[in-house]
Amino acid sequence: MICLGIEGTAHTIGVGIVEKKNDKCNVLANVSKMYKPKEGGIHPREAANHHSKYLPDLIKNALEKAKLEVKEIDLISFSIGPGLGPCLRTAATSARALALLLKKPIVGVNHCIAHLEIGRALTSCKDPVLLYVSGGNTQVIAYMEGRYRVFGETLDIGIGNCLDKFGREIGLPFPAGPEIEKLAKKGKKYVTLPYSVKGMDVAFSGILTACINLIGKKKIEDLCYSLQETCFSMLAEVTERAMAHTEKEEVLLGGGVACNKRLQNIIKIMAKERGAKFYCPKKEFLVDNGAMIAWTGILMYESGMEMNMEETKVRQNYRTDEVEVKWR
């Protein structure tokens, strides 16, 4: 079965074409385009305009890369939520149009679960605890009794959002994560910041404020270093708690912030210390991408989760644990 998946929850519009053959995930094409605001953060409407402008070419491009005719596609899937309304609606509208035009079935995919499923498909992990870290989302997710449950999450802003906002204050363009990572490498002195773990949850806004208040008083490199070390240690701690609680022995990374090498290393050490295994997909599958939506679409469709057009309304606040996982 071949599925074309459209991702469009936030700043990235992506198209992936994936084939499921002998239970293996075969990525035939995975193309995307990222909206970068001139200043400030994501403006939802402008991001949506960006997506509608580039999506038609991305679809053409993906088909060319996959060396497929559009009629060879068996299924259309799209990111139905959670995300920014205008962006979600842009992706959903195109998916509906494609499905109707080609007379193919359609499924809407939960974006967070897609991050986990593509990781499971492309690494050799089987039943991991996923640390999903992106701009808007920060969750520790694992499978239990028919659902992907959220064992820990941010109580305020996402980790990526925290880094971006700090970056903005020191004049870095969006997304600021990669620049902060570079600066942090030059930092040597740890500046004390609040450490905010509450049970299995984390909170970043207090740390962000504290860090912003230190701008001008401490070296930027030291602040970036301290911000990363503090936030990533917190993430490792709650991930470890979830692993202990669920008695799972695999940890998987997902989301754009997982591209950060220091975060990867911290989680790797944590896993090693508990005798657990560490998995991390390639960068193109860590960030938002169409392939993960296409792959999860196939899993859902094959377990009978095809949708009527009426059911394809986007869900901005779609929760990870709302999805009944029928394919496991």
């Binding site: 004390t192 450490y195 070390e229 240690s233 708690r241 644990d321």
Partner: protein, 207 residues
């Protein structure tokens, strides 16, 4: 010293201390975080946990006696409460016994909350029955707070723990009875528990 449990952040040892059978809770070094953060967190938490246990005792709640706090080694030496873990025995006992114990839980939690102590991990794994008394252990996730919200979260966890680990559905109701009787704000907190259950991450959002 014999290790009896390894949690996510601490190791629990059985040892002897001046002729007494004791438990040593040791917060272990985590190599994934830099030394500065690691030391600071382990020290703070060791200190905080010891202080919480001591204030719980002052509030009239049965907790292990603290014999020693070794801040440099991130260790707390405390009484070994050698009883029955509630999680293991509760389902096997009679309705009357269950009711009596649940009233004890409600009264104890009321005493904690009245004194601004949030346990942070109220499950039946953390309650031990010994010599007619119910002991509360593991204040590792505890904090000090007088906020209704925090007390609500504390009790909500207990409700969830009952649901997932025990069969009798009346258990939490009995806890709530005693809790309200012993705590003036009890009613308000229980209302909060209902609200929290609705917003909880394990529940379908009500639209």
């Amino acid at each position: 010293m014999e290790m009896i449990k390894r949690g996510a952040e601490a190791e629990i040892y059985l040892a002897s201390w001046r002729g007494r059978k004791v438990v040593i809770k040791k917060r272990v070094r985590k190599k994934y975080r830099i030394e500065r953060i690691d030391r600071q967190i382990r020290e703070q938490r060791t200190k905080r946990e010891a202080l919480l246990i001591i204030s719980a005792r002052k509030a009239g709640v049965s907790v292990p006696i603290i014999y020693d706090v070794r801040l440099k080694r991130k260790e707390i030496v405390m009484q070994y409460v050698e009883g029955e873990r509630l999680k293991d025995v509760l389902d096997m006992k009679s309705k009357e016994w269950q009711k009596k114990i649940c009233h004890m839980i409600g009264r104890s939690v009321a005493n904690l909350h009245k004194n601004g102590i949030i346990h942070g991990d109220l499950t039946t794994s953390n309650m031990i029955y010994m010599d007619g008394k119910l002991y509360f252990i593991d204040f590792g996730l505890g904090s000090k707070s007088k906020e209704i919200e925090d007390m609500g979260v504390d009790l909500h966890l207990l409700m969830e723990a009952f649901k997932s680990a025990h069969k009798n559905e009346a258990l939490f109701k009995w806890v709530a009875e005693a809790y309200m009787k012993n705590f003036g704000n009890g009613k308000e907190v229980l209302k909060k528990v209902e609200e929290i259950a609705k917003r909880g991450r394990y529940m379908r959002r009500v639209e």
